[in-house]
């Protein structure tokens, strides 16, 4: 092919790729670098210091930041309960639909994708009366918010698990296990879950990342989590808010790295 021909859909050249990546990188990097830089500033016009980082974790300030750390704890509780909801309700449902009711797959997919199209504010308007009942049944503990989060993470968790389900012959494997004497629990525990490990872990980490970054629902339902606490603390101490935002970003970044690593481990194994 001559060099002056332009193919539609051709990969961009090295230069074009570098420019695109550089622009995208700058767009993402500038606010994050600014955030990190700000967390080390000693004043609006002053030099740099570790004081803000040290004071956040200093024992004498424990009382000051007690609410803040409690909110972080709340977010972790929510993340764990939401992951549990995904694993206990969504995962078995998806496996059941895949094996026994394949005709329902489209319906399940549609239901699971809906939350991505519904703005959080709309969800809250609908959830507010529901939560008046939830509080009566389960009490007002923070973990009950996980029911709402379980809905918001559906699209992400569904996609991760479904991709893994499509990649292995679930029906054949479960039938083979059944013919070898395995009951349904053994089929799930000993055959399907080990082969769905990547999808399940990816769904779990994405769920954690989404829950740790959630603000709207918690704020509008008057619950305290990491993000609502960040907003509150930023009004009195912007450095603490910046530090916690950096830490939350770092955690999400690590989770995404782990997800990526899981994917590449699986690929390497299958290429052996």
């Amino acid at each position: 092919m001559s060099s002056n021909q332009v193919r539609i859909g051709a990969e961009p050249g090295t230069l074009a790729r570098t420019v695109i990546l550089a622009i995208v990188g700058v767009v993402f990097a500038v606010p994050i670098v600014a955030l990190i830089e700000f967390s080390f500033r000693s004043g609006l016009s002053g030099g740099y210091t570790l004081e803000h980082w040290i004071s956040l974790f200093a024992p004498e300030n424990a009382r000051t930041y007690r609410d803040l750390f409690q909110s972080i704890g709340n977010s972790f509780i929510l993340a764990v309960v939401t992951v549990a909801i995904v694993l206990v309700i969504l995962l078995p449902t998806m496996i059941l639909v895949h094996i026994q009711f394949p005709k329902l797959r489209r319906v399940l997919e549609f239901i699971c994708i809906i939350p991505i199209t519904v703005p959080a504010i709309v969800l809250v308007v609908g959830l507010a009366p529901v939560y008046s009942v939830v509080v009566k049944v389960f009490g007002g503990s923070i973990w009950t918010l996980a029911f709402a989060y379980g809905i918001t993470v559906l699209p992400y968790a569904y996609r991760s698990i479904q991709a893994n389900l499509d990649a292995i012959p679930v029906v054949t494997l479960s039938e083979a296990a059944r013919s070898l004497g395995a009951g349904w629990v053994a089929v799930l525990w000993r055959v399907l879950l080990p082969n769905l490990r990547r999808g399940v872990l990816a769904a779990s980490f994405i769920t954690v990342a989404v829950v740790l970054g959630e603000f709207t629902i918690a704020s509008l339902l008057n619950r305290r989590n990491l993000q609502t606490a960040l907003l509150q603390v930023s009004q009195s101490d912007p450095w603490v808010a910046a530090i916690l935002a950096v830490l939350a970003l770092a955690l999400a970044f690590v989770l995404l790295l782990i997800i990526g690593r899981l994917g590449s481990v699986g690929r390497n194994q299958s290429e052996k």
């Binding site: 012959p169 039938e175 070898l180």
Partner: protein, 364 residues
């Protein structure tokens, strides 16, 4: 019919007496019915399998052979009839309690387990102790010639090796019945023939009652004690390979098992008249009238005089030769004859019907 014999790859010879501990169950299917919505997949299947017998279920796609096997295994529930294993009705018994070994058409090894762990799986489910489990799994692997592959994973094995491991995995628990659902169809021709022979050898060694589903008539005739030819959810005929080939009970069986020429003919007083030659009629008596007769290629001979024809093509098949000829009415016939006769395309030849009995169906 051709018989292919290829055995260049060494196969395991060790028979495994300890694996033969629980073999030879009698299987009886009586009036088994299975519906998928409005479609009746099994229409009153009656089948009795003797202990230690290998029965092949043979038929075209959609005839219900796999459904029959899955009903036997418990993977499909049945809507009527009974399934007896050694006199025990297992129709309501779940798959995992039926004590049957099964090998599937698609590769079904557990990808996260090694070959040895795959074979141990059934024993683990039966809570067999570790010190007994491992030797039995190794023994089963050696039986299929894969003792050295114990630590490998499924993706490190060829298709044929995977199916052998699946066979070892199905047999290691000493099941009452072995069910094979087209286990060779994903393999290439050479491996298929080799593994087919190996399955037959192991089945004979262990004396395990076996049901083998296939759409390949050559495979069924080569491996089975008896073959059940299925059509539209029912068994059309069951018999030894020789019986099916020489005395098909219907035109469908004659057409499906082995090669047949469909020749316009007339039934006259209970005999079939084909090109002026009177041939005995197989199967049910037909009323006088026009029919299509099914004449085997080996029942037609090339002669110096007889029915005139012109050679279209001739193929060398090793121990015999098959020649296609065109008759004066423009119809084509296949003839099987010795390899020393080498007709060339365009050669005028004469045919003679040897007089073997034929199947026929009315022609409208």
């Amino acid at each position: 019919m051709t018989t292919t014999v290829t055995n260049s790859i060494p196969i395991a010879r060790a028979s495994a007496p300890s694996l033969a501990g629980n073999s030879g169950a009698q299987v009886v299917l009586s009036g088994v019915i299975k519906n998928f919505g409005a479609h009746r997949a099994l229409d009153g299947i009656d089948l009795s399998i003797k202990p230690g017998e290998l029965v092949a279920l043979l038929g075209p796609s959609g005839c219900g052979k796999t459904t029959a096997l899955r009903a036997l295994s418990g993977l499909e529930s049945i809507d009527g009839g009974s399934i007896l294993i050694d006199g025990e009705d297992v129709a309501g018994v779940p798959t995992n309690k039926r004590d049957m070994g099964m090998v599937f058409q698609s590769y079904s090894l557990f990808p996260h387990l090694t070959v040895l762990e795959n074979v141990e799986f059934g024993l683990r489910m039966r809570k067999v102790r570790v010190n007994e489990r491992q030797p039995r799994a190794v023994e089963a692997l050696e039986m299929v010639g894969l003792g050295r592959m114990a630590s490998r994973y499924a993706h490190q094995l060829s298709g044929g090796q995977q199916q052998r491991v699946a066979l070892a995995r199905a047999l290691v628990t000493r099941p009452r019945v072995l069910l094979l659902d087209e286990p060779l169809s994903a393999l290439d021709a050479k491996v298929r023939v080799q593994l087919r022979d190996e399955i037959r050898r192991i089945q004979t060694d262990l004396g395990i009652t076996t049901v083998f589903v296939t759409h390949d008539q050559e495979e069924a005739l080569a491996v089975a004690d008896r073959v059940a030819v299925m059509k539209d959810g029912a068994i059309e005929q069951i018999g030894t390979p020789e019986e099916l080939y020489t005395t098909p009970s219907s035109a469908f069986v004659a057409d499906f098992v082995g090669l047949s020429n469909r020749v316009p003919a007339v039934v006259d007083g209970g005999v079939v008249v084909v090109h002026g030659k009177k041939l005995p009629l197989l199967g049910e008596l037909l009323a006088d009238g026009n029919v299509t007769a099914y004449v085997r290629p080996e029942d037609i001979a090339l002669e110096r005089a007889g029915i005139p024809a012109t050679v279209v093509a001739s193929s060398f098949l090793g121990s015999l030769r098959r020649t296609q000829v065109r008759l004066a009415d423009d119809s084509l016939l296949s003839i099987q004859h010795d390899v020393d006769t080498r007709p060339q395309p365009g050669d005028p030849v004469f045919l003679r019907l040897k007089g073997a009995a034929v199947s026929a169906v009315p022609r409208h």
